[in-house]
């Protein structure tokens, strides 16, 4: 079985369902829209900020503020791409056509990941430039140290979030269960664990907390995290690898 055949097949699958278009569009619109809004509000508030806040003001990171909500749409995309197979019964037809389950899973994830990366990078660059336009005199330039890394990192971050969701959905199979766990986790629980001082040391190793470090250009004054931007992205990549390995092992073992 040639992997290129399976990749073409998975591309046909992904482009022929409506959920792909609306989840990815929502991720783009929410991330950019909210990024612009928060950038504009931050510019107006800048003069009222404390000296400390002004010193650690990170215009690049501010323009990515929409990602906290936009990532939820990426999670929905990642979950649906995989669990649609199970909820519709298509998985039996798919595995009868491609009995090499490793090839099947790898092709599906490769195609979805490629699409996410393109959408993620476009979103990241657009939200950066529009956000900076809103920030006026407080803006950062793409050529400033660390900025290009942060902007590309934003697209990679969105991609990794979607990949992690694909792995979790492949393990759990049910779209409702997967969304029911992932959405509150990334929207609420991770934020709570990362901001309450008692759990902060654990919370910052969670995939989104660690991964979002790549989008920071100015390190906050009281920051004591034990990893830098690349270290954080590495931690997130480990989470993704763990989810995908779990997905592969279970898919190999289970009856379809």
């Amino acid at each position: 079985m040639a992997a290129t055949q399976v990749i073409r097949s998975e591309w046909t699958k992904i482009r022929s369902v409506a959920s792909t278009v609306w989840t990815l569009s929502l991720a783009v619109v929410v991330t950019i829209g909210l990024g612009i809004l928060i950038s504009a509000l931050s510019k107006n508030e800048f003069d009222n900020m404390s000296r400390k806040d002004q010193l650690s003001f990170d215009p690049t990171f501010i323009s990515f503020a929409g990602m906290s909500l936009g990532q939820l749409a990426m999670i929905v995309f990642g979950v649906l791409v995989v669990s649609n197979e199970y909820s519709t019964g298509m998985i039996r037809t798919s595995l009868a056509a491609v009995p090499q389950r490793g090839t099947f899973l790898a092709s599906k994830i490769a195609v979805a990941t490629g699409l996410c990366l393109v959408v993620g990078l476009v979103t990241s660059f657009v939200t950066f430039f529009l956000g900076q336009a809103m920030l006026g005199s407080h803006r950062a330039e793409i050529g400033d140290p660390g900025v290009l890394r942060a902007v590309i990192g934003g697209g990679v971050y969105m991609t990794l979030i979607a990949m992690f969701s694909m792995g979790v959905a492949a393990m759990l199979r049910s779209p409702m269960l997967s969304l029911g766990i992932l959405m509150p986790f990334f929207f609420l629980i991770s934020n709570i664990l990362g901001n309450v001082s008692a759990t902060k040391k654990v919370g910052r190793f969670l995939p989104d907390q660690a991964g979002s470090k790549i989008m920071q250009v100015v390190t906050p004054i009281d920051d004591d995290s034990p990893y830098g931007p690349w270290g954080g992205l590495g931690i997130m990549a480990l989470w993704v690898a763990a989810a995908l390995i779990g997905a592969y092992v279970l898919l190999k073992k289970r009856d379809a």
Binding site: M1, A2, Q5, V6, R8, S9, E10, T12, K13, S16, V17, A18, S19, N84, E85, T88, G89, M90, I91, R92, T93, S94, L95, A96, A97, V98, P99, Q100, D255, A256
Partner: protein
Amino acid sequence: MIELAGLTKRYGEKVAVNNLTFTVRPGIVTGFLGPNGAGKSTTMRMMLGLDRPTSGDVRIDGKHYDQLKDPLSYIGALLDAKAMHGGRSAYNHLLCLAQSNGIPTKRVHEVLDTVGLTAVAKKKAKGFSLGMGQRLGIAGALLGDPRILMFDEPVNGLDPEGIHWIRNLMKSLAAQGRTVFVSSHLMSEMALTADHLVVIGQGRLLADTSMADFIAQNSRSYVRIRTPQRERLLDVLHAAGVTVVETGNGTLEVDGGKSEQIGELAAQHQIVLHELSPQQASLEEAFMQLTAESVEYHAHSDAPSEPQPAWGDAWKGK
């Protein structure tokens, strides 16, 4: 050709498929018969490598399913008509299957035409009726022009026209020399399509026989007679050593295929016959007898032991 050797599937304590060994041969329609819950679908899923056998082995043309390169060109299967994404169009559903096995796009149009779905090719599958879904599933099975075809309960829920179409399709596929394996829980359906019969009950093999042999062995054939000269005929037949059974409604039945003999005897003695017809007991009965011990879910046909008082009887008597 599909070969099963000692195929067994256990779910915890429950044995769904128990040591099945049989071969599905090319050029004929093989019926796979068993009551609901007998393990037919589980067996078929194991044939396709979807479920893993607890022990035993299935081989498709001598190979394990996952060793087949482009499996759709070896074996096409319709397991469940709803095993597709409802939001995808019929054309795209078939296209993604075709691409995964390196089948040219032109073949997608051909199979859509074969099953009569060309007009709705761009429509989403969730709007399809059961019959249309079944046709789309069959189109998927035919896609790789495979030598082996497998259909799980293909006529379930279809209208008479759809049933007729599927029967003819299966026969013509077998006539082209292909292996056709079709499951059903209806003996009457199998009697019309299958040349060979594999019967299972509670996961065990109960029969592996040609349809003709099964009919010969399992169906009682007898001759039904009606005559206005009942007593005379009884005497004549008795004298000739023929055993006659009198049925309640005035007809006589003679076991075995002896209508010629009875007709000649009646003619010799100038007895008028109103009916002299060879009859076959239904195959459905034979099948039910065969699987009687292995039916998983028995329905209780006994009437309630006491008639229930009609509503209101209790206070009417006061």
